[in-house]
Amino acid sequence: MSIAADTRPVLRLSSPTATRELYLFIAILLVGAGFTYASPYFLTPINLIQTLRAALELAIVSAGMTLVIIMGGIDVSVGGILAVTAIVIGKSYQAGLSSFLVAPIGLATGTLLGTWNGFLTTKLKVPPIIATLGSMYIFSAIMFIVIGGAWISGLPGTLSPLVNGTVLHIPASALVILVVYAACWVLLRKVPFGRHIYAIGCNETSAKLVGINVDRTKIATYALLGFLAGFAALLYVARLRNVEINIGTTVALEAIAATILGGTSIRGGVGSLLGTLLGVIFIRIIQNGLVLIGVSSLWETVIIGILLIVVLTADAIRNRNNPRV
């Protein structure tokens, strides 16, 4: 019946996505070795730290995206949340508010927009991809109306130590990523909330029947993704000190790609944060390496696209052999 089902208890015990994480880790090593061979600049502390900083916002957003996708949802509007929040942050700074006020305002804005997505998918029963696509259009429109095609620039970098600083020679961006992933891991694996996320992703009807408050869990999870996108917006502003018109255009698809490459099932119910983090590193290393060896960044998108198709096809084949839900 379930010939292809992964029932090896040892792997299962550690993590159902352990195989994928291992493959991804090996892929990162191989690609890294290739770039080290091809470019003398790749394996240098400066380049690696630069790549890490470039991965910061994507890593943070991807952690939230992982929870949403495990829950059987998706959010294609995170780029819009990031953009609108960055604008709110920029305008607040321009209004003369201090970072002590701007930071909570930014986090609250992101959380609010995430909650809006959760509300759309639960109360109005709109499929998440449609609901968040609609949100994406609304958020983009807000962004264009507010900044009208011009940049917001000259913003203070009060929070930039979170991006550029070091603590005991460890880059602060690495620590920020570590803290975010540790917190999300506790939420997903160590408290009841995470179990409910997995259960909803496995079978929403069952989750309801066993008494899980499905709507509340969903709204909270989308809100958490919004919160993390708000945090990413704060770091974006701290890093660049301006808000560019193309902010957040690629982050949603990259976060989804990192999550899927990391072994999280697009059908929900299965997934891990470690895999997602490896996915983010993989994507950013490919981008960085291709630039170093002078290949158009267009190829990066092609490579990620092909890998996604391979992964999703393998997933579909596995599920065809194991139709029982």
């Binding site: 160590k190 179990r195 997995y198 496995c202 009807t205």
Partner: protein, 238 residues
């Protein structure tokens, strides 16, 4: 009289799935519910378990009117349900499934951490008590046989320590020896003073364990039969 439904109506669009159903079950009583496919049995027990909200009618428990808005409401009032579709999460472990929505916690620093050792221990106890054998309590239920999954669902209901236990075809996927275990379990529940609602297509099983039988047809609970009058009944029941 512990649990009573009166005049329950449930419609799905134009379809009247429950048409003014009256139903009650007392302490230490096993109430069987039989009827054709599509008669409305599952719909009826879902209104008892809070999964459906009835369009009309009243649910009372110990004389108090209840308004179940969700399955949580029902189990907080001592009602445990084993659904026909089992309500399991396939890609989660036996332990996770048994405690889904009712996880054991060991809070530290104000964070409600899961108490995994306690849940694993309790799972072992429950499975031993029911004599259910699974490949491992950390395997996904998706990889298990129909009977094993039914065992997990029964273990979950047992763990709720409910006053009223509702079972929608709990023996459907079971072999003879396993059916025996479930029937003994039902008898034990009655001995403990609990109420049981049992849905089954197997008339033999129904006759053996139930005190009353209600026959459903086209959304109506037509009549009660008292199998207690049957001669072979006394041998197994208390």
């Amino acid at each position: 009289m512990v649990f009573k439904l009166s005049g329950i109506v449930k419609r799905f669009g134009g379809l009247v799935a429950l048409d003014h159903v009256d139903f009650h079950v007392a302490d230490s009583e096993v109430m069987a519910l039989v009827g054709d496919n599509g008669a409305g049995k599952s719909t009826l027990i879902k209104t008892m378990s809070g999964a459906h909200i009835p369009d009309e009618g009243e649910i009372t428990m110990l004389g108090k009117v209840m308004h179940f808005r969700s399955p949580q409401d029902a189990w907080q009032n001592g009602i445990a349900t084993i659904y026909q579709e089992l309500a399991l999460a396939g890609k989660m472990t036996v332990v996770d499934n048994i405690f889904l929505g009712r996880e054991m916690k060991r809070p530290r620093f104000g964070i409600p951490f899961l108490d995994l050792p306690a849940m694993r221990k309790r799972t072992d106890e429950l499975l031993t008590q029911l004599d259910v054998h699974v490949p491992g309590i950390d395997s996904w239920v998706e990889s298990m046989s129909g009977g094993q999954r039914q065992g997990v669902a029964i273990a979950r209901a047992l763990n709720m320590d409910a006053r009223l236990i509702i079972m929608d075809e709990p023996t459907a996927a079971l072999a003879v020896a396993e059916v025996r275990k479930v029937l003994d379990f039902v008898i034990r529940l009655r001995e403990q003073g609990k109420s049981v609602v049992l849905i089954s297509h197997n008339i033999q099983d129904v006759f053996e364990v139930s005190d009353r039988i209600s026959v459903m047809r086209h959304g109506r609970c037509s009549r009660y039969v008292r199998p207690a009058k049957l001669p072979h009944k006394k041998s197994s029941a208390s």
